[in-house]
Amino acid sequence: MKDSKASCRPEEARDEADGGLNMISRASIHVVAYATAAVAITVLFLGGQLGQWIELAGLSVSRADQIGFLALVVMGLVSCSFGGSRLGVMITGTIAAFIVLTAHQELAMVRYLSLGAVLFAIGIYGMTVSRNAIRMLMSIELMINAANINFVAFAHWVDPLHIRGQLFAIFVLTVAAAEAVVGLAIVLALYRNMSTVNMEKFNLLKW
């Protein structure tokens, strides 16, 4: 029992050692997140006025949007209270930024594409950063799904007659299934040999 804890310790130590860059990035995330959270709260308080301003500016926004804003911000706050401070703020910030960026869009399609982009970005982050190989695979699945949203959105708006985007999404689904199966088999085989799924330990091909 003690040994396994001891084995964690060096990593934590290194965590602190190269924390310089880390701290900066954390701080920047905080700044971004709090800023977007502030925007979200502004949206919450302004409510109807924001819609009027947008309409004044020549754009149209429907009542449903405002209801959507409200629901989103409430949900963000709820998740904030659930998920601990930093993650909650990040989530709220992302949602708020997402609303602000997409709510006034004329094209509904752009909303979907933006959501795809958000999920894709989250997936990229997870894939780059994950310590666990399986979590990395999950992030890849996330990215593939984000791409699928785009395909289906395009099929709906650009090619409703021949919904070829949906066809492509089906092929993507197939490939993703194959990828998941083989990827997991590789991870399991690695686990059998190395008895860990920690990406840092997979250093057989050092050079």
């Binding site: 965590d15 979907y112 990229i124 994950s130 695979l137 992030s139 409703p160 949906q166 998941a180 399991l188």
Partner: protein, 200 residues
């Protein structure tokens, strides 16, 4: 179809937009959870949630068949396999630790923000989307359409996909087949372990 009138009427009142935001507001926290949750198995379950919301988006986009396939294949099949893999490997190793590799965090967040910005800006800058005006309500059910396409224009890729799946299946079986020698000395080791533990 008296009852359907109400639903179609509701569909015109921009409910679609509201539903979209609700789904997005579920999907984004869940996706964050997939990446950031300290418990990997839990993030596996959250991934199911992400897939379910994406299936919901597909329903909003009138892609019923794809939405159902998403639930059937992704939501249940793939994620369950992932969760099982997580349970088979030692997930306890990682719980309690920071799930992220610390060295990569700054770079990764930069890259992901960059990716999003790039995509978003390119979306905004595109002026002439080749949009079509046909209402998809009047079209034949998309499952028929998909079936026709798969059997005619896209027959060859379809076959290739099946071959790919077969290859993946065989490959996965070969990779994960346990070599019998590895089980040989498990017994004495287990004995040791039992002797060493608390027998309360």
């Amino acid at each position: 179809m008296e009852s359907l009138n109400l639903l179609t009427a509701l569909a015109h009142v921009n409910v679609e937009q509201g539903f979209f935001y609700v789904l997005a507001a579920i999907a984004i926290p869940l996706a964050y959870g997939v990446v950031f949750d300290r418990n990997v198995i839990r993030s596996g379950f959250l991934l199911i949630g992400v897939f379910a919301t994406i299936a919901g988006l597909f329903f909003l986009l009138q892609a019923q068949f794809l939405g159902l396939s998403q639930i059937l294949i992704y939501g249940v099949g793939i994620t369950l396999v992932i969760v099982i893999a997580l349970m088979l490997t030692n997930a306890r190793q990682e719980t309690g630790m920071n799930p992220a590799l610390p060295a990569n965090v700054g770079l990764a967040s930069f890259v992901s923000v960059l990716v999003f910005t790039t995509i978003y800006l390119s979306l905004r800058s595109a002026e002439d989307w080749p949009l079509k005006n046909e209402s998809s309500l009047s079209l034949p059910p998309n499952i028929e359409m998909i079936g026709k396409h798969l059997m005619t224009y896209y027959a060859l890729p379809f076959e290739f996909a099946s071959i790919l799946l077969l290859a993946a299946l065989v490959g996965a079986v070969m990779l994960s087949k346990a070599e019998p020698a590895s089980l040989a000395n498990a017994g004495d080791e287990a004995e040791q372990a039992v002797d060493g533990t608390d027998r309360v």
